[in-house]
Structures are given as C-alpha cells and as structure tokens.
C-alpha cells in the first residue's frame, strides 16, 4: 500500500500540490488524471522519489520515503523510464537485464539471466533482443522498458504518461500488458494518463486532480461524468456508457 499523507509541494512561487492525502491499495491499475498543470506528474515523481518531499509523508508499505534504504525500496517500487541515455549503446537484452540489478547488484546469477530471457519471450522481444535501443520504434522501446520494470519484480510500478508518442496499436497493447501485470501477477500499477478514455477503459480506479488537490476518486463509472468534466476540465464533453464503461466523446 502507498500512503500519501498531507503532501504539499511548491516549485518556486507556484503551489503545485496542496495537502494531498491518498491511500493507494495493493492490486489493480490506478490512474492519475486531470488537466495540464494539475500536479499529477509531480505527485507521481514524489512517490517515485525523483524529487525530494517538501512537506508531508509518503509511505510504501512499511518504508518511509526519504528515510529508508534506496536499494530495498528498489525491490518494491519501480518507475518506468521514458528514455535512457542514447549514447550508451544498450541492446534490448542489456536493458531488460538492468531490471534485475536491485536483486543482484551487478553480479547476475543464472536465475537472473533466466528471468530476463523469459521476460524477453513474454513481451515478444525475442527477435529484438540483440538490437540496439536506438534502432527500435517508439512502441518497441516502450515494451522493452516495461519488460525491464517487470523483471524488477516490484509490487508497485509507476508510469508517467507512457502513451505519449505511441500510436493506437502500441498504446492499446501497452495498456493491455499493464492490465495483465495487475490481473495475473497482482502488481499495483500507478499511471499518469492524459487521455481520460484510456483511464476509463483500463483502470480500476481513477484519481482526478485539479489545481494540486484531489477532486474526484473512485471507479471509472463513478468518477467520469459530464459534471466532473465540466467542473475539472471546464469543457462540456458528453459522456456515454459503452459496455459499462464511461466514454468521453471528444
């Protein structure tokens, strides 16, 4: 469980988050949604310890961010990177192999290697395994990153707008993979999504932020309503129910 307690954050003069408290239970896909500048990415980066906490507390299970061992936390919580340094000439296999680093700290065992090979097969990366990352398409690269986070074997996986620059097929397959991680492996996926329709289609729970505060929180059918869109995004978009899921007509 990730427990966020009265977290506030400012960057310069701008108040980004104001007294946010949230409990993210284990299991399922939790989407963070909201308009531009609502503070969703900042909140995610605080949970990910990419930025130091200014006010409030965040606990991941029994570990308190800022006071716990980085290495132990890396076996509990992974962040999907959007990119790695282009100059490092990594192959897909190298990259996925790094996912095991928190477990072997540089000296992979036969077990670690087997995990990597299994993940390469599972994410259809087998034929690409010896290709360099720069030569892949955006969707393939994203898949390699997911495979890397997958072998890290963490309970929690954080993603910040991973659908940027992905076409329809790549975006849907990425979301389906995350869904599968949650359903089959019991992982908890916390994801910042820009497109609310992806959130309603794939998430179990949507947390909506506006102006640095949580304004709606719950299952997609409860949170995504025409009234909420009007209030949060300030636009009158009609919402229809298709197969039990709310769909926003754009």
């Amino acid at each position: 469980m990730i427990e966020i307690q009265s977290v506030s954050h400012r960057i310069g003069q701008a108040q980004i988050l104001t007294d946010v408290s949230l409990r993210l239970e284990r299991g399922g896909v939790i989407a963070l949604a909201g308009p531009n500048g609502a503070g969703k990415s900042t909140l995610l980066s605080l949970i990910a310890r990419l930025q130091p906490l200014q006010q409030g507390q965040i606990r991941v299970d029994d570990m308190q961010l800022g006071q716990c061992d980085d290495r132990a936390l890396a076996r509990k919580l992974a962040i999907l990177p959007q990119q790695v340094n282009a100059s490092s000439r990594l192959t897909v296999r190298d990259l996925v192999g790094f996912g095991r680093y928190p477990h072997h700290r540089g000296r992979p065992t036969a077990g670690d290697r087997a995990r990597v090979e299994a993940a390469l097969a599972q994410f259809d990366l087998g034929p690409l395994a010896d290709r360099q990352l720069e030569t892949l398409s955006g969707g393939q690269r994203q898949r390699a990153f997911v495979a890397m986070s997958y072998v890290q074997d963490t309970d929690f996986l954080l993603l910040d707008e991973p659908l940027n620059n992905l076409d329809l097929a790549a975006a849907r397959s990425l979301m389906a993979q995350l869904r599968q991680l949650a359903d089959d492996q019991g992982r908890t996926v916390v994801i910042v999504l820009h497109d609310i329709n992806y959130a309603t289609a794939y998430a179990d729970r949507i947390v909506v932020l506006k102006g640095g505060r949580v304004v709606a929180d719950g299952a997609p059918a409860e949170t995504v309503t025409a009234a909420m869109l009007e209030q949060v995004f300030g636009t009158a978009a009609p919402v229809h129910s298709v197969g039990g899921r709310p769909v926003v007509l754009v």
Binding site: A74, S88, R89, F98, G99
Partner: protein, 319 residues
C-alpha cells in the same frame, strides 16, 4: 552473449599493443649505459602510464555521471582549477617558502584541496546543467577560461622569480614528466582507481540516466558526488605529473568507445586506461625516437583531441 568474445579479443589486442609500446619505449635506441637508460626511462614510463590512466579513467567517470560523451574533466576546467590552486599557494606563501616545502606533501595537500574545490564548484554546475548538453558545454568552456584567467592574473601580480616556479607547472609536458613524484602519484592514483573499480556496476546503472537509476535504487546525486571525488584525485595526479591537457581524455575515450562498443564499465575503465597508455607511450616513442623531439607530443595529442571534440560537437548539434 555474442559480443563477449569480440570484446575479450579486442581487450587482449589492446593489452598487447600497450606491452609493445612500453617495450619499444624502454629498449629501443639505447646509447651508452643500459642501467642508466632503463632507470631513467622506467621512471618516465611510469609517470606517463600513471598520468594517462588517471586522465582516461577520470574522463570515463565524468562522461558517465554527466550523461554525455563530449565533455571531460579537462574541458570543464578541472586541470585549470588545479593550476589555480597551485598558483594560489605560491601567491599566498611566496616562492621561497613554497620551494622549501616537501614536494610530495605539496602534491598530497593539493590533491585534498582539489577535491574540496572541485566538489564545491563542479557539483553545483552539474546539478544545474544535467540534461542540457549545450548549456554544460558552454558552462564548462566559460569556467575553464575563467579559471585560467584568474590563474594568469595571479601569476602576473606575483614577482617574476616566483612566476617561474608556477610557470613550469602550467603547460603540458609529456617529455619532462615529474619523475620524482611517481611514488606518491602512484599511491593516490591507486586509491582513486580502486574506488572507481568498486563503483563499476553502479556506474553502469548511473549511465542510464537519473530516472532509471533511481528506479533501480542508485541515488544519482550520491553517485555523482563520489565520482567527482575520484575524478578530482585523478586529475590532480595527472596534472601534477604532466601538466594540464585539454583534449587528451576526450581523444582516448572516443577511441575506446570506437574499439569497444559496450556500456559495461568493468570493460570500459581498464580499456580506456590501456588506450591512454598506448597513445602516450606510443606517441612519446614516435616523438622521441622517430621525430627526434621536433614536435612535442602534447601538441599532436591536443590537435587530434581537438579535432575529435569538434567532430563530436558538430555531430551532437545535428541530432
């Protein structure tokens, strides 16, 4: 891994090339006493190898923590900082006092000073500039020029006799390496190299960039500080031995990445050190025995390194 054998073969070739260069440097063209020649050359060879290794490893570390393959400590002005510290010491206590000091202690002391100064100065620059390569290049170039200007200002206000003391230290001199400092230099270098070697797996992770490093449990900030410490030690060793060099580190790292396409520091660190040894001893051999010292090696190395810098810069701008 398919590339594993290729890497091993190339490492072996590199080691053989280094051995050949060292033997050629030691044993060719001896006139007169072999005993004297080998003593004399052995010390110079040790100084060259130490300086080369220090420059090479420092450059690899720096490129890893800054996330680019264009900048080296020398380009960012680490060498200039060392010379500034040295000039500052002469300025503060006067050349007479300075010359009375034990040179070994001066070197150890300035290495410590260098660590503190480099952390304070470059730590801040790196934090502000990471992710923006062109800003880092500009900051580095400006910083290096600034440090050199302060140094030359200091050297101008001191007495001309005192100036002579620091002047010798302010230029690259592969042919007249400071052989009496080899022992202490080797000690400092060994400490720094051990630290770098222990960091090798962490460096692989840090090279992925800050987000991936945090996710994998490596604090980029802490890694950066530790690497900066090691770099400062190495640069003070190399600068004390052969003076400041601007593009040597860049030349050897570029060559190493070309010959050994890998991200693993367990390979890159020793390979780059060997490459530096090949370039320095091989180059020095050619300059001393073939060209008969008509051109200093530093000029050739800096010229080639400068070309590499320009080429990489233009390539980087295009991307």
């Amino acid at each position: 891994m398919a590339g594993g054998r290729m890497l091993r073969n190339r490492m072996l070739l590199l080691a053989l090339a280094l051995l050949a260069c060292c033997l050629a440097y030691l044993f060719t063209g001896v006139k007169g006493s072999w005993e004297f020649a080998l003593m004399f050359r052995g010390q110079k060879l040790a100084a060259l190898l130490l300086a080369g290794t220090a420059q090479a490893v420092a450059a690899v570390l720096f490129q890893t923590i800054t996330g680019n393959r264009l900048l080296t400590p020398s380009i960012m002005g680490f060498d200039a900082l060392y010379i500034l510290l040295l000039s500052g010491m002469v300025f503060a206590m006067g050349a007479q006092q300075f010359l009375l000091l034990d040179r070994q202690w001066v070197m150890a002391g300035s290495a410590v000073l260098m660590c503190g100064a480099a952390l304070a100065l470059f730590g801040a620059v790196l934090r502000a500039g990471r992710g923006d390569l062109m800003r880092m290049v500009l900051t580095g170039v400006v910083l290096a020029v600034m440090l050199r200007s302060i140094t030359s200002f200091l050297q101008r206000v001191i007495d001309p006799n005192e100036y002579a003391v620091v002047q010798a230290a302010s230029y690259a001199r592969f042919s007249r390496a400071e052989t009496d400092l080899v022992a202490i230099a080797a000690l400092l270098c060994l400490v720094a190299l051990l630290a770098a070697w222990r960091m090798r797996f962490r460096l692989d992770v840090l090279a992925l960039g800050p987000v991936a490093a945090v996710s994998l449990g490596e604090d980029p900030q802490r890694g950066q500080w530790q690497a900066l410490l090691v770099i400062s030690l190495l640069v003070s060793v190399s600068t004390a031995l052969v003076g400041p060099v601007a593009f040597f580190g860049l030349l050897v790292t570029a060559l190493t990445y070309l010959v050994l396409p890998t991200h693993r520091h367990a390979v890159l660190l020793p390979a780059c050190a060997m490459m530096a040894g090949v370039v320095l001893t091989g180059g020095q051999w050619v300059m001393e025995r073939v060209m008969h010292l008509s051109t200093p090696l530093s000029v050739v190395v800096e010229f080639l390194g400068g070309l590499v810098f320009l080429a990489l810069l233009l390539k980087g701008l295009k991307q």
